[in-house]
Symmetry: D2
Subunit: 330 residues, 4 copies
């Protein structure tokens, strides 16, 4: 759609814009006697609203400083605690839109880093009981969330990144299209590995009413209902792993679809999921020059280039709202 | 928009999808006698088309392997050379859409790394003449391009990232909105620094006909006219630097707008520009505990959190087509 | 010590030198019926020997190509399997020194990436049995090893990096030295967090005979005895975690010493350990401007600068052979 | 050498140790009227001394906090300015050793990031004059320095990293040793590319008196004479580039030696240089499957594995003091 005209004396028009504080690193400790709990987040706030004046003329009367966004993150961590990344993002997004007259829309992106208690399960401490205030950072995935609110409706996305998986068999790739530049040989037993990036969209949010749920609270601008965001995230992660492990694969596309469909099947609160799966190629090494046979035992793990497979999987009837260009950046 | 129904027996629906080979690292050497020229690219190809069968059923008859995309990049570098990132991307995008029956849309993303000849200007070689086949990699910016083609229309984006700039004065920030979480002090003379990420969209492409140019070639699906892409890129980069250096800043938003407007003013072939400017905070250090006065001389360069200012600037009448979530990733 | 004279006509003298192939990424799959096992390594080989001629004169008769080092890594993975990083490094180091007449010393550095089976413990698969050929990469630490052999003696180092730990209490820091630049306040209850990097040296290797073991095999140039390298590594990792968790800390230096001493106490085969512990500062946020009290609940996790505490801990009588400048790079 | 016995009741002995603040990011602005100058450093301080008590017992009376080291960096930037990385490091190292009774040795490592004025030469501003307070970060190399002082003698190292260079011809590699794992083909015209990391040691410092200069000031513990550190660094950088560009190469080892020898020839104040040169492989792509001939025109720039060539080059009579394991980390 063509945009409006710029103000008199201005040669160019301001389009969509947003600003905020990115990557505020907040750690919240909660104590139950000697037993401590921690949540470790990186919170990025992006605000939109009545910002023409600062762009065109450098007048800042409508600009809440990004420094204030940072302070708010810390203050809310104290005042409300951090139940989950999603819940914390909902509190923040609502605050900025309702408490700041010039803010029309807030988007809060969060990364969460998981910590395990040091104890037998984490490979530490000989005795039975895990330490009550000692933690080791789990490194297998970063949890992500994005909460958007514009005063009318909500959109809550969950997700993850850096979850790397590998099947050492039960993967084939053949029967593909060939042209004059095709040299790839068909594979009947290959390693399939990928580093999962995913965004999923929760029901009852900006995506619009779900069939059979026409009057969900978001329609009135209320916050999404308090669901168990943590349980949902762990269920989705588990479904992704499980579908990856149990799908006999004829292509990474097929595996992707199965992973997405499994999340929708297992998580009734999720409407849509977007997956970005780099094909982390493991090439069998040609050992014949050394008089050796490589019976799918020795692989070279390549860095670049890599295949990149991306797709959205939707619950029938749901809208496709997650952008095709999935990004996990602030 | 709600999507269609999934095929019988499938629980979930496939939405937007694309696949290809990311980050093929191609270096092209051209010789004029003893004088060599190099272009150094990372090319990422994403294809969309008739891919339901591979996602739903693992049947790959419509899938051109990503390995073939890689081979094509190398073969085209030989057959056609690399005149510019944009021109090379146009050749590739047209090829995939026109030569592969199952491909409906191709998007080619390119990063280009610049090399200077080793010589006096680069700080090497004492004598006058720069080396004819020796190069030092310039590190001050990565050039980016994105070319999309769907058989009907083109979209050509240029851009850059990692261009870091700093003004040590002529920057203020005050008169801003305050709430109970605001502690920031007003600044009347501050350091302003940012790492520029930009995408700009060229005229006469997918964005639709420009006013006064209703029948431009793209309307017929032909390739964009051969403009001087290199000159355009250098002009845009120079305009960004110049506008940053010469704008007396009252906010980074204001500086952003001036940078975008300057590119539109200087580059008639550009319709729209999207800028993402992290505010690389340089905080004056409080030296009073040591009996010293810091008269804007000593700064702490902070990492995180950081302000993040993002906006689109448009030529009046132009469409806003660059996604708000600017990404420079494959 | 002053070095020798350069050869006639050469203005400068060649000193210590080494060369090889760095970061060969080899993945080895072993099959027990349908149950697969994987080892995932990055192997870096550095060779020293009769290399004056290639440096001074570009004559390569003594240079085994680095490409051959890469090939050897892959071939050995097939021929001998990968029992452990340490054992694989021993095989490679001995090979280069004994099979290549011009190589006098080989140093093999290895990173190993751990994978868990996808299953209930990893948060995947609903049912009881973990997948037999499906894996999820564990991200909590990278295992390292360095094996050196010069034909006479061995040195085997084990180690790890990127193991991040945090205590939310039981840490103090006070009573320190103060000068005119000191503004730090004393802390009686602080968060203590670090990302552990460690190298430890195994007994019976280049470090010389252990007391009471004067004629160990290494003295004759034989390979180190086959110990259970995997068990040793896991024991050391567990000891580090356990000591970190159970030490009431008055300084990170004190905690470091306790961690090192614990490894020596728990692992009789280890003579010496070098630890590099960045103090990942978690600063309590001042919430008083917002009318809130921060009772050690809300922390800002800072990036830079950071404290960096490094030390060697030794078994009495052992030599200190691990360089003070610990590096985990190729 | 076997170390001493641990104190009574301690199971293990403390060896070499050091601590300090790493990566303090200080930017210093100097004004000459409207013309500004900036120096942009990352400073890492490591102190050694009487630290047994804090390691063994958690008593901190001898520990100057790392926070104080940070403060000192900022205060010194104000009090003394930053003439050069080397000079600033000398000031800091002397301060810590002479002003703190418990510190016996200080090592200061510095990274410096270069900025160009925005102006015609940097591709910005149309008019003739470069901006007086606007800068664009140059990205082609990071300058490094390491200053060590123990009260008796000094060691001053300069260096650089991330300087990437490429020759598109005049490089061969053949006549090498072959074994059963060798498959590399001989190359008579190849691309040679590397990313230079270098440390060089200045004369008249801890390395001991230079021949003919037996009574240089360092012998008395005085600071190194004030030489023109900036000029020396630029001379060394230029010599590295020039030698790389003008050496007809038969191996990267030969090129390395020529680069090191050139620095010694051009910079009389440098005694010794250590170079670490990854061979950034550019493999010619086999285009014959596509009916094309690759006459050294199209290359694949590989990531891993890579050759890694490391060596010291010395002025005759000089001592070899730079560790073989060159590191540029804090």
């Amino acid at each position: 759609m063509p945009a409006d005209l710029p103000p008199p004396g201005r040669p160019a028009l301001l389009g969509q814009n947003q600003y905020g504080k990115a990557e505020t690193r907040v750690v919240r400790v909660t104590r139950e006697g000697r037993t401590h709990h921690i949540r470790d987040l990186s919170v990025s706030v992006a605000l939109s609203g009545d910002l023409d004046d600062t762009h065109y003329a450098g007048r800042n009367a409508a600009v809440l400083p990004t420094d204030t966004a940072k302070n708010t993150v810390f203050a809310f961590a104290k005042e409300y605690g951090i139940d989950s990344a999603e819940q914390f993002g909902i509190l923040l997004a609502r605050h900025f839109v309702t408490a700041t007259r010039t803010v029309r829309r807030a988007r809060v992106r969060i990364e969460e880093y998981a910590w395990d208690r040091i104890g037998p399960a984490a490979g530490g401490t000989a005795a039975g009981e895990p330490a009550r205030h000692s933690f080791v950072r789990r490194g297998d995935a970063v949890r992500t969330a994005q909460i958007s609110y514009d005063g009318d409706g909500w959109e809550v996305l969950g997700g993850l990144k850096h979850l790397t998986v590998l099947n050492s068999t039960d993967s084939e790739f053949h029967g593909f299209l060939k042209d004059r530049y095709t040299t790839l040989r068909e594979a009947y037993d290959r390693v399939l590995a990928t580093e999962i990036s995913a965004w999923w969209r929760h029901r009852g949010t900006l995506g619009g009413p779900t069939p059979g749920e026409p009057d969900h609270p978001a329609a009135e601008g209320a916050a999404p209902d308090d669901r168990d965001w943590d349980a949902c995230w762990h269920r989705a992660r588990s479904s992704l792993l499980d579908a990856f492990a149990t799908t006999y694969s004829h292509s990474l596309q097929q595996t992707l679809y199965q992973m997405g469909a499994r999340v929708l099947a297992d998580c009734p609160g999720i409407e849509e999921i977007r997956l970005s799966l780099p094909n982390k190629h493991h090439f069998p090494v040609d050992l014949t020059p050394f008089g050796l046979t490589n019976d799918n035992e020795v692989y070279f793990a390549a860095d670049r280039p890599y295949g990149l497979i991306e797709a959205t999987v939707l619950r029938p009837g749901a809208a496709a709202r997650i952008p095709a260009d999935l990004t996990n950046l602030p």
